[in-house]
Symmetry: C2
């Protein structure tokens, strides 16, 4: 498994290292056509592959960017990653994807690892709990874009869903169909998304004069979702409509639906955030608020590339996208 180096190629072709380097970098303007051919042949014969490490070390850029997603199990994350990959592929960059698994410690390690590997920039769906580290990156002016979640006090480009608006739309849809007892279930609001959604939820209830029944809002860890859902349905006056925080929460809710033999949508109408691959196949088909994940990923990638190239036009700011309602049979009309 001997590595063949540029030196070997040069030797075989009877030229110097630098000439081979020229060749590799497509600078053959002033290169003799036969030199070129000799090099070509030597490379083929030796099956030479340049060592990117050495090149990056010299050039001080790796043409590689990193993505760290909080949790790759979300359909949203995979979509976003795909978009970013597609974008950067077209710009001759490599992309390294890391999954923090909702674990701030892992996130920290990945950030440090990627920086040590000298990636040229980072797109992060932050866990939100490494504020100091984020700050340091921003202070160093390291190319960085956040997605999906904002972190208080960090001045950075954010690509996010307009969560409040999305929740307003969801609640409005329920109200239109005659629902008055509208609940929401989501994971514990450690990150901005969930906070925004909760805020939007209360705003919407208020706007529709539906009071502000704290019992109808359930926030807990994923493991307890089933339990909380059961408790929700055991209320003396249970909700007739439920807004679900994301695809993973939905899975738990549906398990609860099954266990508790809750009739959807007769007994309870359901609307969930995020696209779910089996939404259409479930009985009844589940209504969703999809995020334009691919577009959002592309936007984040563009912003990052601009930063890398020092072409950032404006101040850092939020780039808001709108949720897309897919109304299916999981919502009953009470009118």
């Amino acid at each position: 498994m001997k590595k063949v180096t540029i030196q070997d190629v040069a030797h075989k072709a009877g030229v110097s290292k630098s000439t081979v380097s020229q060749y590799l970098n497509q600078r053959f303007e002033y290169m003799g056509v036969e030199t070129k051919e000799k090099i070509e042949i030597a490379i083929k014969e030796l099956n030479y592959q340049p060592n990117i490490l050495a090149r990056s070390l010299k050039q001080k850029k790796t043409l590689t960017v990193g993505i760290i997603v909080a949790n790759i199990l979300h359909h949203y994350s995979t979509q976003v990653c795909r978009a970013i990959e597609d974008f950067f592929q077209g710009h001759n960059y490599h992309v390294i994807i890391c999954n923090a698994d909702d674990n701030p410690e892992k996130e920290r390690k990945y950030i440090e690892m990627l920086r040590a590997k000298q990636v040229d920039g980072l797109i992060i769906v932050p866990t939100g709990e490494n504020r100091e580290l984020y700050k340091r990156l921003v202070a160093e002016n390291y190319p960085l874009v956040f997605m999906d979640r904002k972190v208080e006090g960090i001045n950075i480009n954010n690509v996010i869903l307009n969560n409040r608006l999305a929740v307003h739309a969801a609640v409005f849809h329920f109200v239109e169909h005659g629902h008055k007892k509208i609940a929401m279930i989501t994971r514990t609001p450690k990150v901005s998304v969930r906070e925004e959604r909760i805020k939007g939820y209360f705003e919407a209830l208020e706007h529709h004069f539906l009071g502000n029944d704290v019992e109808f809002l359930r926030t807990t860890e994923l493991e307890n979702i089933q339990h909380e859902f059961a408790r929700l349905m055991e209320l003396k006056s249970p909700p007739t409509a439920l807004l679900v925080g994301n695809d993973l929460v939905l899975m738990e809710v549906l398990k609860g639906v099954k266990k508790g033999r809750v009739a959807i949508p007769k007994q309870l109408s359901i609307l969930t955030f995020d696209e779910v691959n089996f939404a259409e196949l479930y009985d009844p088909p589940i209504s969703t608020i999809a995020q334009p994940a691919y577009e959002m990923g592309t936007k984040a990638a563009e912003l990052l590339l601009d930063q890398i190239n020092g072409k950032q036009m404006e101040e850092s700011r939020d780039y808001l996208f709108e949720g897309i309602l897919h109304i299916r049979e999981s919502i009953a009309s009470l009118k």
Copy 2:
């Protein structure tokens, strides 16, 4: 965004580069405790991060391995990746995951990219169509393990499911429940898995004297699965049981089930390869043949690490794992 180098640290601490390097590599046996402290402080103050690129260049190893999966959308792939990551994390290696998207061209590019990045080894779920490239890697004695799919004529460690056995078990289960018309639907058999499964299917039919109705075997591209499924159910004598090739095929079949209003399991019993996250939630719950994906990933990782460390004990060979039947309500008894 100035990069701080080992030189800067050395300067600030008033020692030489090499001493700092010693420190970084935990060789403080013979290091003065105050030297150590000075370095410690300098690193903190400068917020120094070693440049892995430079280190790897020198050491001729990157402590990084690559995984290339044929299609990350398979639940199997994500499980496997997780296992491999967990394993290597524990051995201080980094893992880069790439998704070939069932595209041999992409696969080739990723292999070349990862090699150029000097990863120390590769675990591949091969598309099967880059035989020459695979061969070259093997010839170079490059650390390499294949998973899930064998490639004819490549002498390499393979970690795979015993597909024939799994299909035998599946057919046996159907037969036990009185099924005689057992169909199978899967993607076009470009890779060994599918071939093995088809072979196993015919073997099992023969063994149970069920004849060899070619009409009951459907192999086609993912896009045509729905169509083929419909045709299967339109036969004058349609099957009563169906074995589904994998989770993605299942999605298509279930769409077909819905469109064609096929009653599961009354009209058709279903058993699918691979775990599916909503298997339990579907109505009726879907029976599956799970692969011990996590164990398989771990095994592959072990094999790779041994190769990297030159500790490969035996000849390359196949490591077979057994499928795990999860029988749920999607299978009716005809007795």
